[in-house]
């Protein structure tokens, strides 16, 4: 299969639009759940080489320590991972939002991390799936690390991929110091399939 090194303008727009709709749904659910206003940014769609991956992630979040959860999804020839990165400084605010009276130990923090990750990942992935008419199955979430510098979260020495399509979404919540990044990472093979799927959308 040919290599995908870049997306056309139209393809990028289309992915942005699809993500926008999915994020909107995710934000709506979050707003109902937490009774807050979620600020939606414009998602950033890029093809990233393995060598640039760490740099890209670092540039997203410049906090000295972060926590991250990732979850795989797969369906109809499309596979990828949703990676949620939390700035550790946001923890106390998230706890307030989610009504966790006081977060005392790392176990409770983890509980909270998983709750938020679940809402954001789940709603976003299913939202994208719905638009492309794919029923994704999601794997168990995996905690990549808690309270660590971002460079320690990822092991790119053993990575088996060359490039990935990354959709970056930066969620912020109005009036709260909550800042987290959701990265949807699609494998190169999936991008071939997805480009074909969106070509139908682009036709009309």
């Amino acid at each position: 299969m040919s290599e995908i090194t870049a997306l056309t303008e139209d393809e990028r727009d289309c992915y942005q639009e699809i993500t926008n709709v999915a994020m909107g749904q995710a934000a709506d659910r979050l707003a109902r759940l937490l009774n807050v206003y979620v600020v939606l940014p414009i998602p950033n769609v890029n093809i990233i080489e393995r060598s640039e991956f760490k740099m890209t992630i670092k540039s997203l979040e410049d906090a000295p320590s972060v926590s991250a959860v990732c979850q795989g999804f797969i369906g109809a020839g499309i596979a990828g991972e949703a990676l949620l990165i939390f700035n550790d400084l946001s923890f106390s605010d998230i706890a307030k939002l989610l009504d966790y009276e006081s977060v005392q130990n790392s176990n409770e923090e983890l509980e909270m991390l998983m709750d938020v990750a679940n809402v954001l990942n789940g709603a976003c992935i299913q939202g994208i799936g719905k638009q492309l008419d794919i029923n994704f199955s999601q794997s168990h979430p995996v905690v990549l690390g808690q309270h660590r510098p971002i460079s320690e979260l990822l092991d790119d020495k053993h990575a088996t991929w060359e490039r990935t399509m990354a959709i970056e979404i930066n969620y912020t919540i109005e009036d709260h110091n909550v800042n987290c990044d959701l990265l949807l990472l699609f494998t190169e093979e999936s991008v071939h399939h997805m480009n074909r799927l969106i070509s139908f959308l682009l036709e009309d």
């Binding site: 990732c70 795989g72 020839g77 596979a79 199955s137 990935t164 990472l185 494998t187």
Partner: protein, 155 residues
């Protein structure tokens, strides 16, 4: 809701659960042709149920060692007992990609599998069900642990 209606609803729930559960389910008959193919198998293999059903398991997946698998499965058919394979013994049955394609380090999905007999009304076993579990995470942890242990041992 009347009883029969509830039963119908429960049946639908059950079907939904089997379709969406994060575990692979395959029903095979005596000739190893595929009779049932759930969502997990569909998503990870890239084969829709209509592409898999009725086909021979070994012709679709030549990574499965036929004689090895048959030996295991025949005991299930004959003795009506379960059979197991673990990832330490054979890392995978189906060569699927790792469920964490970007952050994961494994090149493929490590799998445990269970084969259970499905009994007919008369007690004979004409079909078996293959249950496939994704155990990549624990396999990788074990691998890491062994690596550290051997490092410690060499000092």
């Amino acid at each position: 809701m009347s009883d029969s209606k509830l039963e119908m609803t429960e049946f639908h729930w059950l079907m939904d659960v089997l379709q969406n559960i994060d575990v692979g389910l395959v029903v095979l008959d005596r000739d190893y042709s595929i009779k049932l193919w759930n969502g997990f198998m569909e998503n990870h293999s890239g084969l829709r149920p209509d592409q898999a059903k009725g086909k021979n398991l070994f012709s679709l997946f030549n990574e499965i060692d036929k004689s090895w698998f048959q030996k295991k499965a025949e005991s299930v058919f004959l003795l009506n007992v379960r059979a197991f394979t673990i990832s330490e013994q054979r890392p995978y049955l189906f060569k699927f990609n790792n469920n964490h394609p970007i952050t994961g380090r494994a090149e493929f999905m490590y799998q445990n599998a269970t084969i259970i007999p499905l009994n007919n009304a008369d007690g004979s076993t004409e079909h078996i069900c293959l249950i496939v579990y994704d155990v990549t995470n624990s396999a990788m942890s074990k691998h890491d642990l062994l690596g550290v242990q051997s490092l410690l041992g060499s000092h």
